[in-house]
Amino acid sequence: MKDMKNQVQNLLYLGFMANILVITGVLCGSLYIQLILKEYPCPLCMVQRMCMMMCAVGQLYIIVSCRDGQILEWKNFAIGHSMTLFSALAGSFMSARQILLHIVPPDPGYGSAIFGIHLYTWGLIVFLAEIFAVAANLAIAPKHWAPIPRQLQSISKWISLLFIAIIILFLLATFNEEGFHWFLEDDPTRNALLNLH
C-alpha cells in the first residue's frame, strides 16, 4: 500500500515536471514563430504568453517546495495549484476573447494556423488542459508525502533552469519587439529595436 502511495506521488511529481516542459515547449514554439517565421505577437498574444508562463511558475513552486529531501506540505501543494489555476482561468478568458474577435466570417484570423487552428485557439486548449490537470492532481494527491527520489529532484533542477532560461529569452524578445516606444502596435509587423534577416 505504501509503495503504491509512493508511486502515485512520484507520478504526480513527474506530472508537475511534464507540465512545465509542455508549457516551455509551447513557449518555444511561439518564439520560433516570432523570431524565425517573423510573425510578431499582438498585445493579446502577449498577455496569453504571460499567463502560460505563470501557469508553469505555479508548478515550479511545487517542485522547489520538495527539493533537497524536503517533504511536500499540503499548503505548498495548494498554493502552487492555485497559482496555476488563477493563471489558466485568466488566460482562457483572454484566448476566448481573441477567438471571438476573429470568429465572424470573412475574418481570416490573426497569424497563421497550425494544423488548421490558430495560435489563440491552441492557447485556449492549453489553458483548459491546465485546469483539467489541476483538477486531476487535486483529486488523486496523497495527504502525506514522502521525500522525492534524488534522480527526480536532479531532473527537476534542470527543467527549472530551462524554464527560467526561456523566460529570459522571452524578456529579450519582448523588449526587442517593443523597444523604448510608448506603444505596442495592435498589429505589429517589425521589431522596434533589432530586425535580423
Binding site: 504571460m50 505563470m54 513552486y61 498554493i79 485568466a90 524578456l171 519582448t174 510608448w182 505596442l184
Partner: protein, 61 residues
C-alpha cells in the same frame, strides 16, 4: 494610460522572471515574496488585458 502599455509588457515578464528566480533560490523567507511578486504580475496582466479590451472595442459592461 495607453501610452504605458508597451512598457508594462516588459515589466510584467520581469516580475514573472523575478518570481521564478526567487522560487528557484528556495530560501524559506523568499517564498512569501515569490507569491507576492507572482500576484502582482497576475493582477498587472489582468489590468493590461482589461485596458486592451475596453480600448479596442469601447465596450460597456
Amino acid at each position: 494610460m495607453l501610452s504605458n502599455l508597451a512598457k508594462m509588457d516588459t515589466l510584467i515578464i520581469i516580475l514573472i522572471l523575478a518570481a521564478a528566480i526567487i522560487m528557484y533560490r528556495k530560501k524559506p523567507i523568499d517564498k512569501k515574496w515569490a507569491v507576492i511578486i507572482f500576484s502582482a504580475a497576475l493582477i498587472a496582466t489582468l489590468i493590461l488585458f482589461r485596458i486592451h479590451v475596453t480600448s479596442v472595442l469601447n465596450l460597456n459592461f
